[in-house]
Assembly symmetry: C2
Homo-oligomer: 285 residues x 2
């Protein structure tokens, strides 16, 4: 029996999703690839619930490890962010095998905690980009279609437009990255262009996280920082007096990190895909 379709395992290391979202994602995939729709295998863990999380830490870690090590899958897709990936990273990193290294991984926001750990462990096919949960946004099908085009076809127009073979890249949510610093998950991004985005954080918190990121000795070896969208920013009392771009430019100047301008990423439907490192499509080595 030939195997032609692309197989994607979906897991939820942080917050849970509804089964209806899985169906909706499958229907979109079928409509986008009518001849050979990718198989979307949502792990039952995605729908589990344990307090804040999509199941207990052990369940979420095991689901991720099972999907990552499954020889029948080509990619692992984060269903959603929320919060919880940092809690299972240690177990995931201890459980993944060489089989896991061959897959593509795609997600953003809270997923950054696991992406950081996998990148540090030498995984070469990680990318920051849309997730099934983006279908809950108005117009979100565009984001999820972009993610599928990237996963299934490696479509170059899914990539953030400044991504090039010239410099390795990485992308993170600002708050998520700041909370990895000083931990075993903190990534070594020397020589990388780091793209940052934020959602629903007041300006003073964006400023505080940028203080931390740009004060970190390892981060001072970045090739530069690009700022994605920070939206929606709650009111700051009093008015902060600077925009998010001014804040990032300020901390870049203070720390000697080049500020390279804006990036086309964010918690929105226009969120483009950013590979970690110099991205290799599946099959390349």
């Amino acid at each position: 029996m030939g195997r032609t379709e692309f197989r994607i395992g979906v897991v939820a290391p942080g917050s849970r999703i509804e089964p209806a979202l899985a169906e909706k994602t499958r229907a979109l995939a079928a409509s986008l690839f009518p001849d050979a729709p990718p198989e979307l295998r949502f792990h039952p863990q995605c729908f589990r619930s344990s307090g804040h999380f999509a199941g207990e830490d052990g369940e979420r870690a095991q689901a991720f490890v099972d999907m990552a090590n499954d020889a029948g899958l080509d990619a692992v897709w984060f269903a959603r962010g929320g919060y919880g990936a940092c809690r299972i990273a240690e177990r995931v990193l201890a459980g993944v095998t060489d089989m896991a290294r061959r897959k593509v991984y795609l997600g953003y926001s809270d997923a950054g905690a696991l992406m950081a750990g996998l990148y540090k462990a030498g995984f070469a096919r990680l990318a920051h980009g849309p997730m099934p949960v983006d279908l809950t946004r108005s117009g979100g099908a565009a984001a999820v279609a972009r993610a599928l085009a990237f996963l299934v076809q490696g479509a170059p127009d899914a990539l953030e437009p400044t991504v090039s073979a010239g410099a390795p890249t990485a992308a993170f949510n600002i708050t998520v990255l700041s909370h990895l610093l000083g931990t075993p998950l903190e990534p070594d991004l020397a020589g990388h262009v780091l793209m940052l985005e934020e959602v629903a954080e007041p300006m003073y918190r964006i400023d505080r996280a940028l203080f931390q990121i740009t004060s970190h000795p390892g981060m001072r070896r970045l090739a530069g920082i690009r700022l994605g969208r920070c939206s929606p920013i709650p009111p700051n009392d009093p008015d902060f007096g600077q925009s998010e771009a001014q804040i990032v430019a300020y901390w870049c100047e203070r720390s000697g990190i080049p500020y390279l301008g804006r990036a086309d990423i964010g918690h929105d439907i226009d969120n483009k895909v950013v590979p970690f490192g110099r991205y290799m499509a599946a099959g390349e080595d």
Copy 2:
């Protein structure tokens, strides 16, 4: 002319205060020490305004340095937290002289960023405790009276009750400490009992910050963690499923740091004083 009174310089490294609060604080000090009221010298910088901050970074840094190096002052008191101390820490640390090392420093919340830097620089008379802004709380005179009793008289009953000569201590706001990790301001607290408190952070954020703090290799050399009050905690959606004490106990167990129970500190009028290290009263060496 004899000099009998205790002289306290007040600065605002983060957010500003109103002049009326300075007057109210002076009136309280006069009523508490009718025979020899301490002199409270509020730097005009406390009332300045520049966007989010009590004046520009340069003004706030200079005000702190001027007060810290002033031979005519016995103590430096943070007027308020808010946000901004981390932005001026580098300039403050470059500007303080040996004269500054003889003083007592008292504050909490955002002040922790500067306290951490001063402690790392070997300052021996730092303490986490109430500030003039606590007068804006209902019943806040009790907190400010406690701070003054500590500053002026070194009153032992102002101290957090578990503080002893047996182990060095330190206290921080959870979020403020987490954002110092990986930066030049991160304190070396090996062998210390670390007391933590929080205000207005949802449970998932408390959990994320505890992941970071307890995953930090240096923090794993703590003698233990005590948890102060976390209040008021906004609703978590969905319910987090654990209390703040359960979260701290969980991360302590996972990281091998002893969890020692509760501490009598917090963003409230009962906030007790916690010295950094083994506290020495002014005059001791």
